[in-house]
Symmetry: C2
Subunit: 499 residues, 2 copies
Amino acid sequence: MSKLLEEFKNYLHEMNQYEHVVTLLYWDMKTNAPKLGQEAHIEALTHFSTKSFEMSTADKLGEMLDGLAEESEFTALDVTWQFIVRRMKRDFDRNKRIPAEVYEAFVRAQAESGNAWEEAKNSSDFSVFAPHLKKMVEMTKEIAGYTDPGVETYDALLNQYEEGMDSATIDRLFGELKQELIPLVQQILAKPQPDDTAFHAYADPDAQKKVQWMLLDYIGFRRDAGAVGETEHPFTLNFSSKDVRVTNHYYETEPISAMFSAIHEGGHGIFEQNVNPEYDNTVAGSCCYMGIHESQSRFYENILGRNKNFWLPIYDKLGELLPQFREISLDDFYREINHVRNSFIRTEADEVTYCFHIILRYEMEKAIFRDGVSVEELPTLWNQKMQEYLQITPKNDAEGILQDMHWSDGSFGYFPSYLLGSIYDGMYLDTMEAELGSVDKLLAEGRIAEITKWLNEKIHQYGSTRTPKEVIEAVCGKEVSAEPLVRYFKKKYTEVYGL
Amino acid sequence: MSKLLEEFKNYLHEMNQYEHVVTLLYWDMKTNAPKLGQEAHIEALTHFSTKSFEMSTADKLGEMLDGLAEESEFTALDVTWQFIVRRMKRDFDRNKRIPAEVYEAFVRAQAESGNAWEEAKNSSDFSVFAPHLKKMVEMTKEIAGYTDPGVETYDALLNQYEEGMDSATIDRLFGELKQELIPLVQQILAKPQPDDTAFHAYADPDAQKKVQWMLLDYIGFRRDAGAVGETEHPFTLNFSSKDVRVTNHYYETEPISAMFSAIHEGGHGIFEQNVNPEYDNTVAGSCCYMGIHESQSRFYENILGRNKNFWLPIYDKLGELLPQFREISLDDFYREINHVRNSFIRTEADEVTYCFHIILRYEMEKAIFRDGVSVEELPTLWNQKMQEYLQITPKNDAEGILQDMHWSDGSFGYFPSYLLGSIYDGMYLDTMEAELGSVDKLLAEGRIAEITKWLNEKIHQYGSTRTPKEVIEAVCGKEVSAEPLVRYFKKKYTEVYGL
């Protein structure tokens, strides 16, 4: 190892210590820390994020990256370290342009805004959140101006979450979906709907936790490299492939919610647990492409979890843990988990109308960043779009614009990733069935481990070393298209609803 | 504020950020982190402990402390900051003498030793732990040589956990106890013992968690400044008075264990939550005297929790949460929680034989540090002393010498604190009853909040600003003596066992 490379690795090691505790502070704030303890956590989080940011923009790092990028050094690196140097150099040049005090203010504002959002949501009072949201929008614009000068802000944001993606492509993909799904949903909603009363009976939260673990174990989330916490809004975070955390919520009369959150976050978690461990604690490890990440959580949640065959081998176990499911047939359960209805909450939506929830948010974000719509106008715009796509109006902002945490920490441009994930899933499913045979059959025979193995090999192991375009090309051998997803929806819902 | 004081406060603020994440890393290692995630946590913990240690021994800090100790600066400080400067100067001079590499090696060895102890205990294999224990003994001696040159090692260790305490005083106090308690326990054990079968029936761990919260709420542990985690060995830690964490374990057939651990750790927690918040994040905040700390956990656990009247207002609630207690009368429950028997596990021992568990450990520690008994000889010595004091021999080391975590992180000299705590409790009880009237009556009437308030005012609020001697003097107005504790035991057990 060259002296320079060794020095560089030591530098990364120290930077990683800061990132490690920032991740932990965030985890603890959300899962454990009491109300009065939040402030000290925010302070420490700001302190160490700033340290990490300072290191990531220090001249010293720039010099090391320049040195390693020189031919004599670069050609001596293995392919992983070549990726790391190239990627870090790109990010260094971007981040270097953000003034340190702007970044520090942003981190602090993020944490405060997150708490304000929680309070606003609990009291369903948008005005508590509005000034923070305004600040997040302004700061996001300001920072994008530094990182991506000359790029239209919203395209820059989209590209941050899904490299290579822009609104022209998304307009095309979402346009295809709208055209096909609006009539499909109309057809579905014209059919008789199942009675769902039995699914909203009381379910002991402690038993729901046991169901969650049964599901996580079943899909292959590893306990020796994973943990679960409880939060209002489920999420996944990871320190490395060796320590991946997911969270869940347990609504007393909505047991299905925790089940599908477990499968969804479990999908994210399995991805991270299976990234090549050699990439741990570098920009090659973990997957930074949100569309690709969501494609995995949503593959588990929807393509697998909402398939009747997924439940065949484990439905009896569910009944043992939550006795009310003993009284419900698997057929009825299957209908319910694919019950299409126009509803308010994105994370609780069925697979089809979910698309409209994302399209709405995508259009809202374009309105904010492209059309300059003000924060004050957003609740009204939200409600108008809910009417347009779902023909319903939220009775308050908690079940409307305040439902998601994403905007509270400035994650504008993230939402489209969810739907891109589903679009990718349609494409993966085609390829997987061509290679492994019927997914229905694999699931029915309890061979889900083979599906997970396929995803590990085709997608997970690469972490961030393949861009979304490269993943799709390598796995499916073609350009991204919404056609397979639409075909999957039509086939599935024709059967479920007898269209 | 003088420029120097401001600079000093900024310095402390940065040091506190390191200590904050060290505390959090420890908490998370014990309560959340998966097996494969431990290593990275140990690495970060070592990194930040070292940073904090570097700051606590930096010349810069020494200069600031010297400056602040000068009359012109010192007299301008308020009494709290005078305490802080004086205390930090003393600790600085002590710690400064420990070479940084020795300290770093110690922190790493502590973490590794803790994990080895856990493994050794789980497999009941002392040999797994022995090399780590040896290392902890050697390093502890080495460090005491630096911090307290010229002081006999074991006295130096005792003084670290309970300032002003030495083995001459402890020999006197424990001697009084031995003389009185050996015949008392013989009398008790000659009496017929109650049947305890009903107390070892299955108790749902989730229900035990609910009982734990019922008890924590009842004694006054505040949820907005507290959290609970699950660990093999219960403990309490705190970031400040605003964020205090306790842990517990839930044995499926030993529900009483989690109840009394909750009350014990809750007592520690209430102490920390009620320290003057102005002391937060300084050496004045938190209580660093372990005997005084244990006096609070043990006051709640024993003096209050093992009193029948404590349960009068809440015994029905216990039956609601754990139905088997509906079938057990309060009288039978009371007898069981004061069931005296010679048993193996310290933390599960009754109030009286508990004293022997501590005396045994105190004598073991004297043997290690004063008589140079080797680590290899310790299991045999343990078993001999168990025979001597309790007339029983552990069937393996897991229920013998491996049962406690204390030695695994080098906390030699800590054990006597538990019994000093009980000795103090006997004295507090006398004073409390003189000032508030009968504790039986207060408890029976559900007025435990008045007891907590008394302890808050008399003890908790002072944090570390009063030494043990000063606390006892201020609260009881006399020298420490074991006589009140012995009197309390005799009165109580004469009644319980009809002696």
